[in-house]
Symmetry: D2
Subunit: 366 residues, 4 copies
């Protein structure tokens, strides 16, 4: 099977590098178009990232030879698309929110589907914010989006913030099993790779904790409501619950976000054993369709007291699974647990690739 050619916008940045690395041996997709800031434009990719490659995993030689395009110039992507080198783009753009918003729209208007990591369009009502295991049906707004804007095959789909990945799938599995979650207090211990590069200064975080990440608590509290919302009218109508209070902390961890969660159920309350069973048995569309980046088990439940830990569990199942542990009663609400997921894979580029796989099997890209 010939691989689908894909583009990466912002390919030289931290998230862009993760896309390039993860796509290096993807069975369906192949990076054939890379775009970045004017500073990198015109250089072979390998030159543009020389001395600035931040990952252990590297890229294919062929990718290194791709000449970087100027991401601001949509026409190069259109040309790449015409010559069969860019069926859609992953957006890992790093610029002002308004600029990203306009630029992603320009790509979509030009007929290039945009699967984005940026937060710019997360609150655009007709743009789906996808976690492939949780709200794959939200892709239903794509035709509405295309129609409303007069776009052809172009569209925009986004993924949520990395901070919510460690508890969003566990929440959904319980909700799907019939247990409403009314309220939750969540404290996250987030890795520095979530801040990009150079990101957090080492002087601020070695042997220290910074109990604040700008904008993160707001995203953590609001994004779940759209993800759990219903397709309605021309867009997504937010869910009302769960009401979430988030405390977001930066800790000296390289990769892997941990979340301590206390949750209050509605009238129907599962036992601790039921919760664990529901999580262990949870499978969703990506598993059923056997998507390449889908973890075998979306939620791995560990019974040891001292797990999950970001360094040991963040990489579970291609770094795409959420690992949970310490499932136990909560003296204030009903139950509590610790969740952990890999922020730059599941929470960023890997999550975007899984969304692309979902959109491929649904026929929106490819």
């Amino acid at each position: 099977m010939r691989k689908i050619p894909v583009g990466v916008l912002g390919a030289t940045g931290m998230v862009g590098q993760n896309y390039i690395a993860l796509l290096s041996d993807h069975p369906w997709f192949e990076p054939r178009f890379v775009a970045a800031s004017p500073r990198s434009a015109g250089k072979p990719y390998k030159e543009a990232v020389a001395g600035r490659w931040h990952l252990e995993k590297t890229y294919k030689a062929a990718t290194g030879e791709l000449v970087v395009a100027d991401a601001n110039d949509v026409s190069t992507a259109v040309e790449a698309s015409k010559r069969g080198d860019c069926a859609f783009v992953f957006s890992a753009l790093e610029m002002g929110k308004d600029e990203i918003k306009a630029l992603e729209e320009a790509y979509a208007a030009a007929g290039i589907p945009v699967i984005s990591n940026a937060s710019a369009h997360r609150w655009t009502p007709d743009v789906p914010m996808l976690i492939a295991e949780v709200n794959p049906h939200h892709t239903d707004v794509i035709p509405l989006q295309q129609k409303a804007r007069g776009w052809g095959k172009g569209f925009i789909a986004v993924k949520p913030n990395c901070s919510i990945q460690s508890y969003m799938t566990p929440f959904y599995a319980l909700i799907e099993a019939g247990f409403e979650i009314r309220r939750a207090v969540v404290a996250t211990l987030q890795a520095v790779s979530g801040a990009g590069y150079p990101g957090v200064a080492s002087l601020d975080i070695i042997g220290n904790v910074v109990p604040f990440i700008g904008g993160e608590e707001e995203k953590s509290e609001k994004e779940p409501l759209k993800i759990l919302g219903a397709v309605s009218g021309g867009g997504i109508a937010n869910a009302e619950f769960p009401r979430i209070a988030a405390h977001c902390n930066r800790v000296p961890v390289v990769d892997g976000h941990t979340a301590c969660v206390s949750m209050e159920f509605g009238e129907k309350k599962p036992s601790i054993e039921e919760i664990k069973r529901i999580w262990r048995n949870f499978k969703a569309l990506p598993q059923e369709m056997n998507l390449p980046f889908a973890p075998v088990q979306p939620i791995i439940v560990r019974d040891e007291d001292n797990r999950p830990q970001p360094r040991k569990d963040g990489g579970a199942d291609k770094a795409m699974a959420v690992t949970v542990g310490r499932v136990r009663p909560c003296p204030v609400f009903d139950a509590r647990f610790v969740g952990c997921s890999h922020n730059t894979v599941r929470g960023a580029a890997g999550g975007g690739i899984l969304n692309a796989e979902l959109l491929k099997v649904k026929g929106y890209v490819g």
Copy 2:
């Protein structure tokens, strides 16, 4: 003024070293008796800790010359007491809980007051568990304790676990101002020095988080209820509120525990500004009596978004103040904040010394 001679049980261990270091320039107390395990007994203190001294701060030359006694042998303390070298002891014993319980009782029965860091007697009803700014009146159970057990001037007083220090004084300041706290969800990010030495293996914690500390959540949830309780009958009757859910995490921080707290008030709810004002104005007995180890302000409120941080704020005001920040509304409960305090000073040896100062001015020791 001649200094009061004091003893330290478990003087070679981690907490014991902290006592020795903090007492090295104390204006009232002077370490004149040191006891430890039989392995150290008979050696000069400086030899017993050679190559095993874990702190930056050091001890006085005279202390180094003290010959270490066997802590299991109460008679040496009695002799020291008789010759004027041991008015009371700080207990930093590291052995089984039941052994500590019995041994502390033996010292008290022999007429030596015991001011303890150990958890052994925290739930003995007639033993006060003191935070000098919160429940100094709990010393009222000491005469009852002495009478019930037929002890002379010996008694036992303890301090609570280090994990609750970052929020207990803030809670109390609000309660004292008339605002009942009904429920709280607390996530702590705790320093490795809290686990003693060797404590946490570096392989477990470098670049990692361990979301579990044995027994810590139970202590964090229960101890506040005794501290906020009332002297009643022959002991302390626990308070009913606040109901607390604790999530205790170990993080790669050397000193300083951080707590993320969401709290629900009773019917009377203070505004965020009121909370900050109450905390900024809070003073208690140790401040009024100008005790040497009392922080000028028990609660320091910071307005910057990214504070408190354990490395920058743990040492505030002789490492005896609690620093709070990010005081803001809570979408699930009423208000939330981040608290930070130094676990081995305020939370351990420094807190014990402040308790001793309180007991001194109240006439129980000295």
Copy 3:
């Protein structure tokens, strides 16, 4: 092809776990016999390591079911050998040096070849200390060893200390190319995993450096001389050069030892470019024979100023390659460089497995 059944002595310890993990998908070897201390003996392996498994990588389900034998009882290994479950053992024993010495001899005497990570037999003259790319011909002492001791097919082969791996292969490649190395000053920055578990206390190393590792400098200075020695008489005669001065430091890194090396050549001195070319072109027996654990390139030369780094380069080529960089003139000696290798894989279990592969193709085991 049926896999060769192998045993692991000390299978529940840190190095033992590394063996089990690395063997989990080995193409030639299969762990079928596991032995450990009497405490673990009699339990299924999975129970013996429950809550004590320190690695990200895990083991096969079948290995988890193996019942742990008492490593002190050689007869169980002999029985395993007879029933076809133990062609040879990897020794990752953790006990006193003399005990290990005697026990490894007992296994060998009983006909079980021992491929050891322990330091006990490193200075036994007729025991080869192997780095598969450097001194594969030292296996020639094995028949002498067997004969002298009256052993049948049993024998002992060891590997050197992890601290020398980052510069030993680079040294050898230059020596083999005709450039004698007379003197070298080496400063190592060593990862905590090299100390086993629990190993280094987190209180000692977070945000700190410990400029001492017991016995490490002596090993670093002496072991290269045996490795570069000649088979002579009934054993190995040490080489005279290079004379090495080692400064061994522990740093807060999880895996990967780094070495800063200044070296003085004999009369024939290579240029910096020659050094890099020699290293880039270096291949040895493991590469020629295409051994499964052999890195494609034993020495990877990087040109960026800021590499190698343990976190980014330690894992290069299955964590079996040595990565070098900063090759430049030395104002005091002739040339200097930085070397980096993975201490628990290349420097421990992976190196042992590569030695076993070498011994297999040479017909000593299997």
Copy 4:
């Protein structure tokens, strides 16, 4: 005694903050003039550093009220000088080397002595590069400098790079005692605070080592030669020895540089015991004159195997002493040791203040 009013150029940067913090309770000097970039100019100092204060130690309320001047505008310093608010300035400027060079000259030409941390003038032959214990007589070039340039009481004096502090005073003590040092190989393990703020990205250094610091090895090798040089003609003539090879590494340590040193003496070679005795007995002008920032003992020798360590020893004696340990024979050269000093105090602002104290007692400022 009225304190001498001093200025700090670059007062809002990392080194500038260190100056302000260390001067907050200085017995002789008082910060009364602060200058920084145009961005901060016109604001009260406390506003200019709000949310950007990086230190535990803080500044005096009065300093917080000082209005920040534009450091590029020398005339404001001249005015401050005229009204008695600026007897001299500490330069902690952060801009291009040529700009700093010109600007420091402009201040000096305008009659304001400049005591600088910048590297810009380190190689100007008539500018002394001072370590107060090592080359206090180099101040003799100041009158030559003033005369050659036609300056009045203005002049420039600098301090060397922080990386050499851990071995430069130990080297000098031996040289002064008659033992020439011919060659040395030095490997440094340097703290992140040496890189300023934001400096090293946390993603690069958590759980990692970076074996490269731009320009640092060159400075480490060359600066000692000027410091050990002789006043000759109109400037300083470099010493010929020791020839130094430096390997500079960044490690995840907040404060405190560690150096592993192998040294070769000339014909006269001290024993290990002699070296330790010389270091223990070493005193110099700052000690004799009892300068406020002078450590009581410039070199502290520790006998424990595992010291010095940056976290435990960096702060020794007001963070102004050098702590050495592991003094032992070197199999390649003659002797080796580990040195440790605090890079932002002894190696930066504290060293500058000590130089100012020296210049004060010599009558050059004040």
